[in-house]
């Protein structure tokens, strides 16, 4: 069926098993914290600002991005020995676009309201630098298993920050969480309309980056 050759990852010899486990842990830690795509690398900011005024929209966006990053990294890694060096960016873009269009079609068919809410931002995942960054920096030189974990960790690291931004914005701007009014924030609370507008995203994201960077600064400086 497929004309594309696929290489199965070879079973690692037992001695390497422990190293592989720690590799997985490193990849996860990098994506979540030490090399978090949003507050460390400051990538994917466009969607971090655009789709974070409601928690539900953000959740779907994050799932779509994590799915795309993880599977694109896996595919790029599977094809890494066959892809000619000079056209690798084209191939990566093609693979990323493939997974994004799948999500877009699925949303259009099975969740049209969400598809309308997210509008062009699902399609714009293709240009999200996090995905190509991971494909280029990691997946094309590593075996499929760890590339998948690395892509997923980056996606989850991105999701963590986006969801925090969305929770703050929806709570302060609408007084609700996932559309359910939160006691103390609905009624008496004077809703900060600016939080659901674009400037609210800038304020929230800037504060979060500040907090997270301060929290991780000490550890970074200890490094040689």
């Amino acid at each position: 069926m497929s004309a594309v050759p696929e290489k199965k990852p070879q079973a690692p010899p037992p001695a390497k098993k422990r190293r592989k486990k720690s590799e997985t842990r490193t990849a996860l830690a990098e994506g979540f914290w030490t090399n978090n795509p949003v507050f460390r690398q400051v990538l994917g900011i466009c969607s971090a600002l655009a789709v974070t005024n409601l928690v539900l929209n953000t959740l779907v966006m994050c799932l779509a991005l994590t799915w795309t990053t993880a599977l694109s990294c896996l595919t790029v890694s599977l094809l890494r020995n066959w892809t000619p060096h000079r056209i690798r960016m084209m191939v990566q873009t093609l693979i990323i676009a493939f997974y994004v269009i799948l999500v877009d079609l699925a949303l259009k068919a099975y969740w049209p309201d969400m598809s309308r809410n997210l509008g062009p931002y699902v399609g714009l995942i293709i240009t999200n630098c996090i995905i190509m960054g991971r494909c280029e920096a990691f997946a094309r030189s590593h075996i499929p298993g760890i590339s998948f974990v690395d892509g997923m960790a980056s996606g989850l690291g991105y999701s963590m920050i986006l969801l925090l931004v969305a929770v703050v914005r929806e709570l302060l701007g609408m007084g609700s969480f996932l559309g359910i009014p939160v006691p103390g924030f609905s009624g008496v609370w004077d809703r900060w309309i600016i939080m659901v507008m674009p400037p609210g995203a800038f304020f929230t994201l800037a504060c979060l980056i500040w907090i997270f960077r301060s929290a991780s600064a000490g550890r970074e400086e200890k490094k040689p």
Partner: protein
């Protein structure tokens, strides 16, 4: 010389990879095509119901939308100038006129509701657009749309004007979306086309 050293290998490789992924996408899009079409139909029917004076609840499920549409709305007739009809006691109580035209990025499709007097606008709704989020796309939001009900289609000159925010409004004017000049002027242009045709049709029938 192995296959991978051949000068045409990258071309062949790209061709094969593209063919493989496109095949899956084409298959999946065929699989979901019917569902997507049903969704678009419901979006249109919802827009029609929204612009007519029907007092509907905010949230109605797609099957409910379709049931109401079939029950209450009549297809365009020779006299209705392309508009769908809301019938009451055998007479048209309101019209839903489909409008469409090129927006800034893509086609905008919507519906304008017009009262039984064939002159008062009862509402406007868009069911397809890809304008800039936060700017042009604000035309689908209540602040812009809620300006339309009660406006009257002018008898002469431009039937409906979309003016910059800050200008004084007449009975046939609404304010544009600030920062979305292109969307606003294009919207004004195709609304003008559709409403001029509507006005001519009406004058002819009188």
């Amino acid at each position: 010389m192995s296959l991978r050293d051949r000068p045409w290998y990258p071309v062949l490789y790209m061709f094969v990879v593209t063919a493989f992924f496109s095949t899956i996408l084409i298959g999946f899009s065929r699989l979901t095509r019917d569902r997507v079409e049903v969704n678009q139909q419901v979006a249109f029917e919802r827009a029609v119901l929204q612009v007519l004076p029907l007092d509907l609840p905010d949230k109605i499920s797609p099957p409910e939308v379709h049931r109401l549409f079939v029950e209450r709305i009549a297809a365009p007739t020779a006299e209705s100038g392309g508009a769908y009809l809301l019938m009451q006691d055998g007479k048209p109580a309101a019209f839903a006129l489909p409008v469409q035209g090129q927006g800034f990025w893509d086609m905008i499709r919507g519906v304008v509701g017009i009262g039984a007097d064939r002159q008062t606008i009862t509402g406007i709704s868009f069911y397809e657009q890809n304008e800039t989020p936060g700017l042009g796309a604000e035309i689908v939001q209540p602040p812009f749309r809620s300006q339309f009900p009660g406006k009257s289609i002018a008898r002469t000159g431009k039937p409906l004007r979309i003016l910059p925010v800050g200008t004084r409004l007449g009975p046939s004017d609404v304010h544009a979306v600030t920062g979305a000049t292109q969307t606003s002027t294009r919207l004004e242009r195709f609304l003008e086309e559709a409403l001029t045709r509507w006005r001519a049709e009406e004058e002819r029938s009188e």
